[in-house]
């Protein structure tokens, strides 16, 4: 009898607690998911304007890979110079900057005069998810921002995220 009471107290109550947690958690709203690879199309009119824009020029399709942990994002382009950015998502707005040298000595974009800034909005109209945004280079203040459209790559079969 004593063991049954202990069992109910130490096992039964936590089970009820877990059920309660699962119920309460349904009302939580986490940030919008943007993780995974996105195929990027850069606005053709501005390409080749300066060495900054040329960084994005390459033969393979340009892919933006986003790693997400809550609102915190790590973005990397597959271009030759491997542009890496860190940023955040707020509602449907993505805002990212190149790594700061103090936080990542590995990055080759550490120099603040070489800062790259990306901002984009999630377009949730019918069809595949898209990011509509622009990139700006502080090294080339005279150059216009590079507009881009990134389309989320379809997840392969069996892949959950």
């Amino acid at each position: 009898m004593k063991i049954l009471i202990h069992y109910l107290l130490l096992v039964g109550l936590p089970v009820l607690g877990v059920l309660g947690v699962l119920r309460v958690g349904q009302s939580l709203r986490p940030p919008v998911s943007v993780s995974g690879p996105w195929t990027v199309e850069v606005s053709r009119q501005v390409m080749g304007y300066s060495s900054c824009e040329d960084q994005l020029r390459q033969s393979e399709p340009l892919v933006l890979s986003i790693s997400q942990s809550g609102p915190h994002l790590t973005l990397s382009f597959n271009n030759k110079k491997k542009i890496n950015l860190e940023g955040e998502i707020e509602s449907t707005m993505v805002n990212a900057r190149s790594h700061h040298p103090a936080t990542n000595p590995v990055s080759d974009q550490g120099n603040s005069s070489d800062a790259i800034h990306l901002y984009a909005t999630i377009d949730r109209q019918a069809g595949p998810e898209r990011l509509l945004g622009a990139l700006s280079f502080s090294k080339c203040p005279a150059a216009p921002e590079i507009n881009f459209v990134a389309t989320r790559q379809v997840r392969s079969k069996g892949e959950v995220r």
Partner: protein, 423 residues
């Protein structure tokens, strides 16, 4: 560089680092495996990639990681088979009364705390691509893990295995292991069923059929192995081949059913004959290559996926500290309270709590599954890896503090240590 050359260089570097760091950890009275886990992290982007990015890029090019990961997964399958093989149902039956309450409470209390923590972390470290139910169930499971193999090694090294405390601890860890793997299989099933191509009821029905076939058909058929072993008193190469075929076929079945290959390997080990000589001989055949060569590859593979740099800033380190705190309070507190309620004294209860708090590499296995199926984010993965390392590292010194060998020996002489049979 040729792929085979790259792979060989990687294996050499990983083995060397694992042995050196493992040796260093043994010097500070830590199990070798804790050092090997740490070595994996050192070789990843968190240290080598941060200190020497060029060396890291040459040593672990992105294109080569698939081979390393596959090799480590094969090792992990054999390791999970060995974990299942070590499970002894007789041991569980003998101590069922005390072990059942303690082990179930030591799973469900941290599970509940993991769920509560999920309420806090979900908006901060997850996204709307992961349903809360999946996130909370996974967090609960990850918090309730006990590393059965590491625990067994700690108990053996400290000569506690044959004591009442050791017996209860190993029985609880075994029940924990089985329960946690069943819960995890359920979580993986849920996550995979939510993707468009899978149907939940087909996966559930298939899994139930699989477990039924393994428990009632395969287990009986495997008794022939025991008979053969008794006749020859050795585990022949043919026998090893048959057993490995069973392990990989079982893994393939569970992977196809959507509950992960590792679960199949574990079940294959659990249904093997439990004749002591047979288990020892089979373990000796498979253990060395698995533990010395393949597991360090898994640790390195995990280290390569762990970027501690993602845990940056006060906010992220606060989450990390919170995760460690909840993990320790849940497992240590849950197991200690349940053990005390089952009739053990406070010292033994606390020692049991410390032992059950060992998460070790089983936690790493679970975390890798979570990252693979996309339930946890890379930053949360890094935090949980830190938690696994901290909780495993703290076991030996805490046990030494609470349950010192001389004190224990004195207790044994005077017969103070007794496990009161509840009810």
């Amino acid at each position: 560089m040729l792929q085979i050359t790259t792979l060989l260089i990687q294996i050499i570097v990983i083995l060397l680092t694992a042995r050196i760091v493992g040796w260093g950890f043994r010097k500070i009275h830590q199990p070798q495996v804790v050092g090997e886990m740490a070595a994996g992290i050192l070789l990843g982007p968190s240290l080598l990639g941060w200190l020497a990015p060029d060396v890291f890029a040459v040593l672990f090019p992105l294109s080569s990681l698939g081979f390393l990961s596959t090799l480590s997964q094969i090792g992990l399958l054999v390791f999970m088979f060995l974990v299942g093989l070590e499970l002894n149902p007789k041991l569980l039956r003998e101590r069922a009364r005390t072990a059942l309450v303690t082990s179930h409470a030591s799973i469900l209390i941290p599970f509940l705390l993991g769920g509560l923590l999920a309420l806090y972390l979900y908006p901060r470290l997850s996204d709307n691509g992961v349903p809360f139910t999946h996130f909370a169930l996974f967090m609960g499971t990850a918090m309730s893990i006990t590393a059965f193999p590491v625990l067994a090694r700690i108990l053996t090294e400290r000569k506690l295995l044959s004591t009442p405390l050791g017996g209860i601890a190993i029985a609880c860890a075994a029940i924990d292991d089985v329960t946690a793997w069943c819960i995890l299989a359920g979580v993986v099933l849920l996550v995979r069923a939510s993707s468009a191509d899978n149907v939940l009821w087909v996966m559930v029905l298939g899994s139930v059929t699989y477990v039924g076939v393994m428990l009632y058909v395969a287990r009986k058929a495997l008794r022939h192995l025991e008979v053969k072993y008794k006749q020859r008193e050795e585990v022949s190469k043919d026998m090893v081949a048959v057993i490995l075929l069973i392990v990989f076929a079982s893994s393939l079945a569970t992977e196809s059913l959507g509950i992960h290959a590792l679960f199949g390997a574990f079940i294959a080990g659990a249904i093997m004959p439990k004749n002591r000589g047979f288990v020892r001989a089979l373990t000796e055949k498979l253990e060395d290559i698995t533990l010395v060569l393949l597991l360090p590859l898994f640790f390195a593979s995990t280290g390569l996926r762990t970027s501690i740099g993602l845990v940056s800033g006060t906010e992220m380190w606060f989450y990390c500290a919170l995760i460690i705190g909840v993990a320790v309070v849940g497992k240590f507190g849950g197991a200690s309270i349940a053990a005390r309620a089952s009739g053990m004294n406070w010292r033994e209860s606390a020692a049991l709590g410390v032992l059950m708090n060992t998460r070790g590499l089983v936690e790493l296995v679970v975390l890798n599954i979570g990252l693979d199926i996309g339930v946890i984010s890379p930053a949360l993965f890094a935090m949980m890896v830190i938690m696994a390392l901290v909780t495993t590292f703290m076991t030996t010194p805490l046990l030494e503090m609470i349950y010192r060998p001389p004190l224990y020996a004195r207790h044994r002489e005077t017969g103070i240590i007794q496990v009161k049979q509840a009810a």
